[in-house]
Structure formats: structure tokens, C-alpha cells
């Protein structure tokens, strides 16, 4: 059973042992509107927490997606390159973006739980 965490920048990460799958939240996808482009990192790339991990464009805006945790990119959801609209349909599940090999589980303490993130959204 994996645990989901969120960042203030509206990324999510689901952690299961040393595997960390990342994406953007339903809230972020809704705010962006129709997603038209997703740029994913190369497999094998090392990223640090809060560094740029991916990029996303919608009919309204372009934005960077930051790594919720540090690690090595082991898999990307390349389906999104041809069908970025999946982000609008299932941001927190089918439209996962990157799977990282978790470098340091202690970094998770800087993130929000689902309940904390929901509270955070109310405060925006």
C-alpha cells in the first residue's frame, strides 16, 4: 500500500518502499485547463528535490513541474506525450508522469499528507 504526499507547488508523490511515482494534483490540472503538452525527463536522469522535473503546457499557461523528492528517473509515462489530455481526465492516477528511485525517505517529512493538502487548498 502506497502513501500519497503533496507539495505546495501541487505535485503529488506516491511512495511504496523505494519507489516514488509523481504527477500533478487534480487541483493543478483543473487550474491549468486543457493540457496540450507534457515534457518528461530522460530515464536515468538524477534529480534533486524541488528541482525542475518536467514541464507542462495548457491552453492557458506553461509551467514547470518540480521533483517532490530526490532520486533517479526509472520510468516515464510516455503516453502523455501523445495524449496530454489524460492529465485532465486522471491527474492523480492514470496520468502519473515520472517514477523515481527514492534517494532519501527523510525528504518526505517536508511534504503534506492528503488531509494537509486539502486544508492547504482551502487556504488559497
Amino acid at each position: 500500500m502506497s502513501t500519497i504526499y503533496f507539495t505546495k507547488e501541487h505535485e503529488w508523490v506516491k511512495v511504496n518502499a523505494s519507489t516514488a511515482v509523481c504527477g500533478i494534483s487534480d487541483h493543478a490540472a483543473h487550474e491549468l485547463g486543457d493540457v496540450t503538452f507534457v515534457e518528461l525527463p530522460a530515464v536515468g536522469k538524477q534529480v534533486k528535490q524541488n528541482e525542475v522535473l518536467a514541464a507542462i503546457e495548457s491552453v492557458k499557461a506553461a509551467s514547470d513541474i518540480y521533483a517532490p523528492v530526490s532520486g533517479k528517473v526509472v520510468k516515464v509515462n510516455s503516453e502523455l506525450e501523445d495524449a496530454p489530455e489524460k492529465v485532465n481526465e486522471s491527474a492523480e492516477d492514470a496520468a502519473w508522469m515520472v517514477e523515481l528511485e527514492l534517494a532519501d525517505a527523510a525528504e518526505l517529512s517536508a511534504l503534506m499528507t492528503k488531509d494537509q493538502y486539502d486544508e492547504y487548498l482551502k487556504s488559497l
Partner: protein
């Protein structure tokens, strides 16, 4: 302009009830999207989309067109427009810069309606009035509502609602008729590249017409977000983005709407410009990926900046980014490779002809 000063159309409550995302546009509080920009865009290309365009300005002139000087106001001849037809063109300043792009409707021998952009309407009115001598010139924006019904199904929708006469209106012609018991004008014009109509009617009737049209299952509301994608896919310029008082119709590649065989303010500047190499010229381009070029992005040839993007969207019909921009004339030939840069984003693009999307039903 602060949000407190925003003007509202008679349909503001309807937009809010439909859950529209509202934003300021040209000084007005306007619906940007309802269901979603791409869904609304697709509906317009396949069915019939309904747009609230009440923000645009309408002016009425009555009198002797020639004696009042109306003939010399625009880049085309007003008296050459037969009654029942309309024409697109420009109001220019002395330097040949575009004060506005507009459509003139010839209502009668001695009467025209001028339809202008929302943000520019107050200044347009003052400029036109200052150049007229005689006749009566009135700003009728507040009492005039405008709904655009655009899409391949728009004709059958209006025929069912208003009558068979709608089907007889050719492109850039209009009919003055009674709609919902009120004097109205139905014009076969639009800003989407699809078969479509612009309906002008008294402001107090527009809620009823809006609600009546939305009962039809072929009709869905569409916002300014979809309208921007639709107009750019067919290469239409947006005033304030692609053209403004610092660009001439020649630079904007819109010379076909300028009749150099007649007098108009700005003609001397254009004649002079015709004899010289232009400093910049408007081009259309396609991006080689799904990336979106946006207003203000720089256009490069290798390491040298040669221009700037003025409009850009992701085109759902083409499946790639498309845009308009200005470049040095040496880079304007179709096929020329351009690089578009903004921060970390780099897009490869190629100059192309317009319309980008050629399958529209506009002349069907």
C-alpha cells in the same frame, strides 16, 4: 482598468449561472470558458457555438455619406458597398498605423453601422466623429446586443428558429428582420472560419434569444478562449495583439483590405511605405511540436533575434502549436525556419501560409 470599472453585458448573470470562468477583456467582464476551451472549440467546428459578443462597439451614421466625409474615413469605399452588404477594413492614423479593424454594414443609402473592437471603441468614436462633418453619428453600443452563432449547424438552427430567409443570406451580406418581435439584423459574418451568423438586436431582447438558442441541442455556449483558438486557426488578426496603432496594414500583410485607388487618412504614409523596404512584416508559422508559442516570445534565426510572436495557441485541428508574429522581411518566405525562445523553452517553427486550418465551413 481595475476590476471595479469593468462593464458587464446583459448576459453576465447567464454566464455565471452556467459556471463560466470570467475575466476582464477590453474593459469588460467576459466569459473565457464554460465546459473547456478545447471542447467548445470542437463544438464550434462540428455543431454550433453561441458567443456573447455584446462587448463590441456599434456606431450608427445617418446622413449624406459623401458630404459628411465618411468616404475618406476607412481603407475601403463605403459608398461602393451595396445596401445589405458589409465590408472589413481599417481606420488608420496619419502614420498609416491601425487605429482599429472594423466592419461597415450598409443599412441604407444614407445609413451605415460600424462595428468595432471593445477596447478601442471609445477612441474610435472620438476619432471618427472628429473626421466627420455633418450627418448624425451615434454610439449605440449600450442599446445594441450582439450574439454570434458559429458552426456548420448554425444555418439549420437559425432557419428552424427564425425562418427560411436565413438560408438565403450569402457571405458578408445581412438582412434586417424581426427577431423575437424586435427589429434585428442577421449578418453572415464571423470570426471562426465556420459558417456562421452575427445577430444584432436590442439589448433588452438578448437574454431571451440567448436562452432560446441554448434550448436547441445543436447549440452550446462558447467563451473567448475558444474564440481565440478558432480565429487563429484561420489566421485572423486580433487587434491589440497582432495589429495596433504602431503597425500598418502593409506590415500586417493585410494590404488586400486597403484600396489605394481612393482617399483615406494614412494613405500618404502607406504610399511612402510601399516604396521602401518594410522594417517588419507579419508572418504565420507552425511549430514542429505540441508546444504553444505565446504573445511576446522571441523569434530567432540561430543566435540572432529577428522578431517576436504576437499570437499563439495549440491548434486542436492541426495538433501542433501555431502563431502569428513579426519578423524582418528577409525571413518572411513560406518554409523559412524560425526558432522561438522563451526562458527554457525552445521551439522549432516554419513560416507558412494562412489559413492554418482550411476545412472550415465558412463559405458553405
Amino acid at each position: 482598468m481595475s476590476e471595479h470599472n469593468l462593464q458587464v453585458t446583459p448576459l453576465n448573470e447567464q454566464h455565471r449561472a452556467l459556471g463560466a470562468l470570467m475575466a476582464p477583456f477590453g474593459g469588460w467582464d467576459m466569459p473565457i470558458q464554460y465546459e473547456g476551451i478545447i471542447a467548445e472549440h470542437r463544438w464550434c467546428r462540428q455543431q454550433a457555438a453561441l458567443f456573447d459578443i455584446c462587448h463590441m462597439g456599434e456606431f450608427l451614421f445617418k446622413g449624406d455619406l459623401v458630404a459628411a466625409g465618411l468616404e475618406n474615413l476607412f481603407t475601403f469605399s463605403v459608398t461602393a458597398i451595396p445596401v445589405g452588404r458589409s465590408k472589413y477594413g481599417f481606420l488608420l492614423n496619419e502614420q498609416g498605423g491601425i487605429i482599429d479593424d472594423l466592419i461597415v454594414f450598409r443599412m441604407a443609402d444614407d445609413q451605415v453601422m460600424i462595428v468595432v473592437n471593445a477596447a478601442t471603441a471609445p477612441n474610435d468614436f472620438n476619432v471618427i466623429q472628429s473626421r466627420l462633418s455633418g450627418g448624425t453619428f451615434t454610439d449605440i453600443t449600450a442599446q445594441t446586443a450582439k450574439l454570434d452563432l458559429q458552426g456548420p449547424k448554425s444555418r439549420e438552427v437559425l432557419v428552424d428558429l427564425l425562418g427560411g430567409w436565413v438560408a438565403e443570406i450569402p457571405y458578408f451580406r445581412f438582412v434586417q428582420q424581426t427577431v423575437l418581435g424586435a427589429p434585428a439584423m442577421v449578418s453572415r459574418t464571423g470570426y471562426t472560419g465556420e459558417l456562421g451568423y452575427e445577430i444584432f438586436l436590442p439589448a433588452e431582447k438578448v437574454v431571451e434569444l440567448w436562452n432560446t438558442l441554448l434550448v436547441d441541442p445543436r447549440v452550446k455556449p462558447a467563451g473567448l478562449g475558444a474564440r481565440d483558438v478558432l480565429r487563429l486557426e484561420v489566421g485572423y488578426s486580433l487587434y491589440g495583439s497582432d495589429i495596433d496603432a504602431t503597425t500598418t496594414p502593409l506590415e500586417a500583410d493585410l494590404g488586400m483590405f486597403v484600396h489605394m485607388d481612393k482617399q483615406f487618412v494614412g494613405k500618404q504614409a502607406l504610399l511612402q511605405q510601399q516604396g521602401q523596404q518594410l522594417k517588419k512584416v507579419r508572418v504565420a508559422f507552425k511549430v514542429s511540436s505540441r508546444r504553444t508559442p505565446r504573445h511576446g516570445f522571441a523569434i530567432f534565426d540561430n543566435e540572432q533575434q529577428i522578431g517576436e510572436v504576437t499570437s499563439g495557441v495549440f491548434s486542436p485541428m492541426l495538433g501542433c502549436g501555431i502563431g502569428l508574429g513579426y519578423v524582418e522581411p528577409a525571413y518572411a518566405a513560406p518554409g523559412t525556419a524560425l526558432t522561438i525562445r522563451q526562458d527554457r523553452s525552445v521551439m522549432e517553427a516554419a513560416v507558412c501560409s494562412t489559413p492554418f486550418y482550411t476545412e472550415g465551413s465558412v463559405r458553405r
